[in-house]
Every structure is written in structure tokens, then in C-alpha cells.
Amino acid sequence: MSTFREAEERFEARMLAIYVGGVTIFLIAPILLPMVISFSSSARIEFPPPGFSLQWYRAALENELFRRGLWNSLVIAVVCAAISTVAGTAAAIALNHYRFAGRSAVQLLLMLPLALPAVVKGLGIMFVLPSYGMSQGVLATAFAHCILGIPYVAYLVLATLANYDLTLEQASANLGASRITTFRRVTFPLIRPGVTAGGIFAFLMSLDNVSLSLFTAAGDTLPLRLMQHIQHNADPTIAAVSTFLTLAALVIMVLFGRTIRQRQLSGLKER
């Protein structure tokens, strides 16, 4: 009986393994294929590529719109990550350390932007920009991205704070440390993994954002430029940029993947 069950279980595992292998190919292939195409000698999207060439990398590097777009996107992402990290961490501390009237409303409001459709938020920001004397551009887009960056950071820092012992701060105060020293020497080192992961998430989210930038930027971030290029002419230049972006994402993932994954999974578990 038990051997039959074991055999049955082995069979189930093997069938599942085949299916999961297929799903894994489905996950990875659309990311790897642009890399192959980027070395193609053909100007069309052709599979298999008729020959090898590096011309699309040169075309991508020489494309002024892409270069300026990358610069704009990096500025936006750095500003967004900086503001989101400070604001999100502070908000997480407020929610974790204090019980105050309106706390659950604040918590809900803080996470709400993640649940609402991006198009609605983007449209709204486009409507209000003129009354702030702002026009569509880098600054408006950086602020707009913060409404997604702040909840990311707050969520990840809150997850770190779940295992945080508040008496450590009292101990620090009892030993004569000021509030600032306590934050700098006790609180911050303990929540740093969450803060770092949050900052990286905010940065990557901003770098890849389309649906808010569409309404808040002047069409000049890298993702928007790439999208315009594909609509106009889907040649392998995009594949060359794609390869570069994918490699950058992989490097970030290898460098920080561990912190991010641990934070995320432990965060999910604690909910």
C-alpha cells in the first residue's frame, strides 16, 4: 500500500515537473529572446537571425533620444528613491511606534495608491499640475512616482519592524542617548535591510514606470522613448537596449536579491 502511494507520488512529481518546466520556459524565453535578436544582422525581427552583428548596439548608443531618456529616467528614479526612502521609513516608524487616533486610516491611505489603477492616478496628477505651476517633466514625474515608492518602502520597513523590540529604544534613552542618537545608533541599523530593499524597489519601480510617466512626463523618459520607438519601428535597436536593461536588472538582483527576497517573503508571512 505504502509503496503504491510512493509510486503514485513519484508519478505526480514527474508530471508536475514537466509542466513546471514548460511554465519556466514561458517565464524566461520572452526575456532571453531579445538578447539573441540584439546580435542579428537583419533590420527586421527575424528568427533565427541570418547573421551576427553589433550594429544595433552602436545604433542604440548613438541614439540621442535614448541617451537623454536614460539620463531623465535615472534622475527621476534617484529623486523618487531618495524621497520615498525618507518618507516611507518615517511613515513606517509612525505606524509601528505609536498608537494614535486615525492610525488605521493613515495605514490604509498609505497603501491605497498600490491598489488603485495607475491610469486614474496619472490622469489626476495631469489635471492638477497646472494649478501647482508645474508642467509635465522630470520633477513632476519624480513626485508622482513617490506615491508608489512610499508605500513600497513603508511596507518593507514595517515588515522589518515587526521583529523589532521597542524596549531597545527605552534602554538607549535610559542610558542617556538623545532621540537622534537613538535613531542613528539603534533604530536605523536594525531596520536598515528593510530601508535598503525599499529604496531599491522604489528606484527600480520608477525606472520602469510607464503608466504614471505617460501623464506626468514630457514623453522623454527611457521607457516612453523605447515605447515610441517600438510603435514607430520595431527594429533590433530595442533588443540591444533590452539586453542592456536586463543585464542591469540581473546585476541588481544578484547584488541585492537576497535582502529583497528575504524581506519580501518574511513580510508576506507576517501578514
Binding site: 513546471v20 519556466t24 518618507a87 511613515a91 496628477i125 492638477v128
Partner: protein
């Protein structure tokens, strides 16, 4: 000193959380709360064909978009695609998560990496990957042509055949991660317990595993549905002009036709659809599975 400082200290303590919240409030009020309010307000305005939007308080925009066959088709298209993609991610994601949690040993790290990878890679890159796969001389067509299965290329690009798989690809991690989390919490002993009590493998799955993983299914489905409904990039790059969906239509009304009031009303309806979906699925789930609250 303490006697004087005490009331000040108490007031400071009460203000302390709000001091920590100042940076978030400074961003959220001008860039989230007010914009959402303005979308609502503008949806009651009137689009003037000769000028920009005119101030008004009218339900005409809602009446128009909820009766005009063009907009009604857009809504049904969007909801249909959202449901289809949700189902697709569930069909691909559930066995994946189940295998990763229960059977994967050496491959576990690789599978986790594979499910996180798409989240880290630019959505434009992924959309381009699907162009490479579904183009007339792309991967699928050149394979089928070389094998002699078809004589002329299948038209997939800029049709549902390229848009839907690309959306499933984009949102599969959002389904798989909550599933992995929910399945990972199931006590392995429950499998043996069910088997010892005479439950077959399928019975155990249906009566033990599936109910215990239902919070993951609900969470994943809600995430995927809401995201597909508001997806702009994939329909824009891979979709068909004959099958319009909501997000590109809203953008077009706002940016191309400068019909801001109509765009605002469409955005409000999109928001209401998402809220109704979230509320309805939470309510049904709580009614059908009241025990799941303690999971």
C-alpha cells in the same frame, strides 16, 4: 524642571507620530489625494468641442459612456481580458507554486529566481520579447514554417494572440507569489493525516490543499485582475486596434482628443469596477469560506 516639562512632553508625544508622517503627507496630499478628488470633480464637467473642459455639474458623461456601444464594448473587452488573464495565470501559476513548495529540492532556488526575474526586467523588454515570439517572421512562425506545418505565417502580432500571452507573462508572478506563500504554510503532516484517514490523493488535494490555499488564490486573482484592467503598455504595444481596452482608451481621450471630462468619467468607472471586484470577491470569499479568516 520635570513639573513644567510634563504637559509639553505629553503634547509632544501626541504630535510625534504626525511629525514622522510629515514627509508622506507632503507628497500624498498634492500628488494623490487632490488628484483623485479632481478626477471625480472633472467627471461631472462638460467637454466643449471648441475649447477645453467647461465647468458644470452633470451626469452626461456617465450617461454617454454607459450607453454608447463603443464604450460599452471597451468595458466588456477589458473585463473579459482581465478575467481570462486571471484564469490563465492561475492555471500556469498554481501547479508551479505547488511543485515549488512540495517537490522542488535542488531546483527550488532556480524556480524562485525564474518567478522573480520578470518582476525585475523592464515591461518594455518583455513586451518586445513577445513581439519577437509572435511576429510574422518571429519564433513561432519560423518554427512552424520550417516544420512545414503551415504554409504562410499566422497573424498573431497586434491581435489577442499576442496580447493575452504577454499579459499572462507580465502578471504570472503576481499570482504565483501569493500562492507560494499560501501553499508554503500548509503543514506537510496534513497530507499524511488525510491519507491515513483514507483520503486519496485527489481527495486530499480537493478537500485539504485547495481550501487551505484559497487565500492565496483570492489575493493573486485580485492583484492580477486589477492590474490587467489598468494595463496600458501591453495593449498599446501588442494589442489590436479592433479590440480596444480601457487604459489606452482613457489615455487617448485625455491626451489625443483632449476630452478631459470623458476621460475622468471613464477613469471613475474603471475605479468603480476595481472596487466592486475587490469588495465582491472578499464578500463571497468570507461567505463561502468563513474559516479562512483564521488562516
Amino acid at each position: 524642571m520635570t513639573a513644567v516639562a510634563a504637559p509639553v512632553g505629553r503634547r509632544l508625544r501626541r504630535a510625534a507620530p504626525w511629525v514622522w508622517l510629515v514627509p508622506s503627507i507632503a507628497i500624498f496630499v498634492p500628488f494623490f489625494i487632490l488628484p483623485m478628488a479632481v478626477v471625480l470633480r472633472n467627471s461631472f464637467n462638460r467637454d466643449d468641442p471648441l475649447a477645453l473642459m467647461v465647468e458644470d455639474v452633470t451626469l452626461a458623461n456617465y450617461a454617454e459612456i454607459l450607453t454608447d456601444p463603443y464604450y460599452l464594448t471597451v468595458f466588456t473587452n477589458s473585463i473579459g481580458v482581465s478575467l481570462g488573464v486571471t484564469l490563465g495565470t492561475l492555471i500556469l501559476g498554481y501547479p508551479f507554486a505547488y511543485y515549488l513548495v512540495r517537490y522542488a529540492r535542488t531546483s527550488r532556488a532556480f524556480l524562485l529566481w525564474a518567478i522573480y526575474l520578470p518582476l525585475m526586467v523592464s515591461v518594455i523588454v518583455r513586451a518586445f520579447g513577445w513581439i519577437v515570439i509572435t511576429a510574422d517572421s518571429g519564433l513561432i512562425n519560423s518554427t512552424l514554417l520550417a516544420l512545414g506545418i503551415i504554409k504562410s505565417p499566422l497573424i498573431m502580432l497586434f491581435e489577442l494572440e499576442s496580447m493575452v500571452p504577454a499579459m499572462i507573462h507580465r502578471y504570472l508572478p503576481l499570482m504565483a507569489l501569493p500562492l507560494i506563500n499560501a501553499l508554503g504554510r500548509i503543514d506537510e503532516n496534513l497530507h499524511s493525516a488525510s491519507a491515513n484517514l483514507g483520503g486519496g490523493r485527489f481527495y486530499t488535494f480537493r478537500r485539504v490543499v485547495l481550501p487551505l490555499s484559497s487565500p492565496g488564490i483570492i489575493a493573486g486573482s485580485q492583484l492580477v485582475f486589477a492590474n490587467v484592467l489598468s494595463d496600458f503598455v501591453i495593449p498599446n504595444l501588442l494589442g489590436s486596434t479592433r479590440f480596444r481596452v480601457l487604459a489606452p482608451v482613457i489615455y487617448e481621450e485625455a491626451a489625443v482628443h483632449v476630452a478631459w471630462a470623458t476621460a475622468a468619467a471613464l477613469a471613475m468607472v474603471m475605479l468603480v469596477i476595481v472596487v466592486i471586484m475587490l469588495a465582491a470577491s472578499n464578500y463571497t470569499f468570507r461567505r463561502l469560506a468563513p474559516w479562512a479568516r483564521n488562516l
